[in-house]
């Protein structure tokens, strides 16, 4: 056998690691289920169809934002402007959604367009300058908030058409539209990430940008794509929120970026890039939703809830690094 002498050398490190890091896909799911079981035991009000619907509805906006930011974080970037994009796109959509003005498709498209443009601008500055994404999107976060206030003259945009309000507040066959759109968005984002060339390139760019370049990947184009996608998803979230509260609020979405990033990180997306899954992010968002819902039901005040949430974020990352260590 010609090259037989090397056969036995490389068997030393055979540990296998999937792309979901952290407590691992199943660890996270187990933690989630455990908390659900604990809550069902602690309070009978938790495990009711009505309550679960409430949770998913509340989670859906955050989950949409978290999907978008997961794309960005996988490429090694970050987007802090998503909360402001929610406000801008909500205000834009609301401005076109007054009764008897435009058909409902117009506010939808205008909102989406605003988000896509905003995201593309983020991507453009990130790829064309040497400024870190953290700083770029910190800047556009403030710019976005200002834009939302300018476009609305600082006042809520109300008096919206019924058909517009149906988008985020209605039900189809008894299922809230928010839940349907969440499921559609989740499946689409999963497909993009796992089944497409673009998704593969995202992992490559975040995993090792130079090696991606040497493989002929247009790194700038991939980054443009993720920030634009993130803007699109933020627009969807902004439109749904506006529709649900039947008002375009220039102050909406403040702090949403942190919840979305938290969901991605709890879900095992590494902030250094190159790893993360939509399933993880979805579970992360659900976990955040279930815990705050459970604490509500247990009459824990929102002050304590924030402390608990912070501990969970840090705990998830600590478990993450412990898990990585044992696998190294």
């Amino acid at each position: 056998m010609k090259n037989g002498f090397t056969t036995s050398f490389n068997q030393v490190s055979t540990s296998y690691k999937t792309r979901v890091q952290g407590i691992g896909k199943y660890g996270l799911l187990a933690a989630f289920l455990l908390i659900c079981i604990a809550l069902s035991v602690l309070t009978p009000r938790f495990l009711t169809v009505q309550n679960l619907m409430i949770i998913v509805t509340q989670v859906s906006i955050n989950a949409l934002l978290a999907f978008g930011v997961t794309f960005v974080i996988i490429t090694g970037g970050i987007d802090l402007s998503i909360g402001s994009m929610v406000a801008v796109t909500g205000v834009v959509a609301a401005s076109f959604a007054h009764p008897d003005t435009f058909p409902v498709a117009v506010p939808l498209l205008m909102g989406l367009l605003a988000g896509v443009a905003f995201g593309a601008f983020n991507g453009f500055v990130v790829t064309r300058s040497n400024v870190p994404p953290f700083i770029v999107t910190l800047g556009t976060m403030t710019i976005g908030r200002g834009l939302a206030l300018i476009l609305s003259n600082g006042r809520p945009v109300s008096n919206l058409s019924d058909s517009f309000n149906f988008i985020g507040g209605g039900k189809v066959l008894g299922v809230p539209t928010l839940i349907i759109l969440l499921i559609v968005a989740f499946i689409s984002c999963t497909i993009v990430l796992r089944k497409t060339v673009l998704g593969r390139y995202m992992y490559a760019v975040g995993g090792n940008e130079q090696a991606a370049r040497a493989s002929g990947i247009r790194v700038g184009a991939v980054k443009m794509a993720v920030y634009t996608l993130c803007g699109g998803l933020a627009a969807l979230a902004g439109i749904l929120l506006t529709s649900r509260i039947t008002t375009g609020q220039p102050n909406a979405g403040a702090g949403f970026e942190l919840d979305a990033i938290a969901a991605a990180i709890i879900g095992g997306t590494s902030t250094s890039g190159g790893s993360g899954t939509m399933t993880g992010t979805l579970i992360g968002a659900l976990l955040i939703g279930v815990i705050s819902n459970g604490l509500d039901l247990l009459n824990v005040t929102s002050y304590y809830q924030q402390v608990v949430m912070g501990i969970i974020i840090i705990g998830a990352v600590v478990l993450d690094s412990l898990h990585n260590k044992t696998n190294a």
Binding site: T6, F9, Q11, S15, Y203, G207, A211, G216, G274
Partner: protein, 507 residues
Amino acid sequence: MTSDTILQVRGLTKTFSGVKALDDVQLTIRKGEVHALMGENGAGKSTLMKILIGLLTPDSGEILFEGNDLTTGNVGDVLKRGISMIHQEMLMIPELTVAQNIFLGRERSGGLLRWLDDRRLTEKAGALLEQMGVAIRPDMPVKYLSVAQMQMVEIARAISNNASVIIMDEPTSALADAEVATLFRIIGELTRQGVAIIYISHKMDEIFTIADTVTVLRDGKYIATRPAAELDIDTLIALMVGRKLDSLFPVPDGVPAGEVMLSVDGLGRRGVFADISFEVRAGEVLGIAGLMGAGRTEIARAIFGLDRISQGEIRIRGKRVVIHSPQDAIGHGIGYVSEDRKGWGFIPGMSVRENLTLASLRKWSSGPFIRDKQERDVATAMMGELNVKATGPDQLVTYLSGGNQQKVVIGNRLLAQPAILILDEPTRGIDIGAKAEIYRLIHQWQQRGVAIIMISSELPEILGMSDRIMVLAQGKQTTMLSRHEASQETIMRYAMHRDRDTGPTGE
């Protein structure tokens, strides 16, 4: 244990998830010797060293250091007792000065809140460096140092630690010849003072230059310890691989080269290289030799579109092309395997399959969607062709040995079906078995009509693989030799060629 034994390891065993990385290993280090530790990648050298410096705890066995049991020590204990390691990747804080790095963690200012006496540290460090005979300013931030200088600082740190055993892991991998000479001089001085050096390297000539004793490991097992003077290269290789290697290099088959695939005319990059002209034909290997810093890698980078050229032109199949980016180069059928495998080669968090298909993914997809089955089949077939040792196509590349990682990088380029393949130091840091396989692969792709440019610092490799050899010195082309004209001596003569009047000004 004789009186001059300083470190003795007996019956050391370490298991990782069921696989024995070390199996009943022994090692005896005497005062003032250079003890080379040899073995292919995966033989257990790194694990053994990690145990010696206390990063890992062995499952069984004992370590006696000056007669004291050291088996379960942590890093701090081992350092205090005098074992230091010069790491392959420099572990220093770039913003701190040389002196601050040397005494890091041992400032002895008495308590966290006391003022640091930086001036005293700088004086002490200065004295130490002067004693070593190296010209490095102790108050210079480490980030301004060259790799060689950083290594000297690491050694100074070890000396200041009163280390009586210093472990050096591939210390010359990033050094130029003159710097290697300095390192060897310092090693000589240290051993005269009774310091023992454990020296890990793949470079045979170094081993025979400085080692007194050689211990060989294979598959985690102790194989032999011999005085270096009683060994020759063939015997050593036979001990390492467990059998004799018939021939490292494939036999040239004398098939004439085909059409000119790539020609470069008067290529230059201001201040880096100038007036480079050559051509490579289909089915030909053009070797590029030269000392470190002669401009070899820079030429490759420029052709691949990573750096801009300031003059000259590049033709592919006779047609002039402009290459501004790696995408342009790949579009013209050029593949480039960098000398920096970790930096430019693979994506550590990705599987073998994903790394293999990355450069050619468009071929295995319909529109935006990857055709999963085809991708897997293609990757599996390439793994077979390259003889990649992995648990399967889904194993992460990080967990492969250096040689197998390199095969994956080469496979990634090959799947893009390049007409021209540029290999920069294709076997650096790779064990000898994997080397032979990579040579076989290069030969195989040469036979399929790929034009290959191979840059290498290893002269046997250049001589063994190239049809023609271009030699560079100081950014200029000093000669083009045919296979039968070339010898180590001629190449070295042209590589050392100094021409004061015509430096690489690029004008």
